[in-house]
Symmetry: C2
Subunit: 204 residues, 2 copies
């Protein structure tokens, strides 16, 4: 006899349901009852396994960020040449977001609601280190490989072009009248388009 749902451990079912509901509605918007229903269990069990809404949320948040940050950090701190580093970053980042399109907006919102809590809980103090990239850019500019640029502005540009389309996904889809499938194709295209665009702007 196959119990496709019932035999997965309760705790995992809760986490899966909580992720879904929290990402859809955020911390304040999410309802404990909806999480319970989604998991197919009694609401009291949520408090049995995780003490409170906040605790449950924190668990999801940590878990989510852990799936993002390490690889990004690895790329940033690697010694890849600038061009490859940018390409790797864009490709990796966009791939991750294609798997979880709602995460960027979710993260941005939570940072907005409790900036201090967020960073302590998630990054344990170690921000992504862009120091190496900055040095690489300065070196490349000195060797006349690229035009001199403000590293801060460039990093802002790269991040913006990668992340914003996901934050504004519903808006773009509505304005441009494109389906989920078409959106995904556009983003796949961007994995090469953005690095090409950036390098075209940098080369002298």
């Amino acid at each position: 006899m196959v119990k496709t749902q019932a035999d997965t451990p309760t705790e995992e079912r809760i986490l899966a349901a909580a992720r879904k509901v929290f990402i859809a509605h955020g911390l304040t918007g999410a309802r404990m009852q909806e999480i319970a229903d989604e998991a197919g269990i009694n609401k009291a069990l949520l408090h049995y396994y995780f003490r409170s809404k906040e605790k449950l949320f924190e668990t999801i948040l940590t878990e989510t960020m852990q799936s993002f940050l390490p690889r990004i950090n690895a790329i940033f701190t690697s010694e890849l040449p600038v061009e490859e580093k940018i390409a790797a970053f864009c490709s990796e980042y966009i791939d991750k977001m294609l798997d979880n399109p709602f995460i960027p907006l979710f993260v941005v919102n939570e940072i907005n609601n409790q900036p201090d809590d967020f960073f302590k809980k998630i990054w344990g103090g170690k921000k992504p280190d862009v120091g190496i990239l900055v040095k690489q850019l300065e070196a490349a500019a000195k060797e006349k490989m690229i035009r001199p640029v403000s590293p801060v502005q460039l990093i802002l540009n790269i991040m913006s072009m990668c992340v914003f389309p996901f934050v504004a996904k519903p808006m773009f889809q509505k304005v441009m009248g494109i389906s989920d499938k078409q959106f995904r194709l556009l983003m796949e295209e961007r994995k090469k388009e953005i690095p090409a665009f950036i390098m075209a702007a940098l080369r002298r």
Copy 2:
């Protein structure tokens, strides 16, 4: 005798307070009591002047969008040459957002929460028309003025670079350790930086 607050009409005080609270917390997060307190009036007055929370919200939303869209639309549909059009758009858009840094995230969120309602109420059906810009880009590419580009990708790039820094403002400030004043300076810089970056990427 000067009553700096008391002599502004009640309705205006409500609108000002509502804008502040709604923009800070969004539709669901905002509390009617907080709006009343902020306006220094009794909560029942909110329902006396505007029937419900939704109605009040809709008023603010419409008002807010009306301060954004017309000028943007004007630039988009104008016959300015590509380069100037892009420069004008960035400068205008960033200026608007510098005056209301919270609006982009606010708008993105509300679109996410009720995509259909939003567009009907706000745009009355007429989306910003990028048709002219697309034709200009194709023409410029044919005349070898710029490299051929996917207009959709380019527009995505422009919008992203202009808007995202405001959506992610708290995050950037935390990560890069910059003050409000410094952030403003960075954004002022971007009004020229972004068009320059884009044109450098486009020119052949």
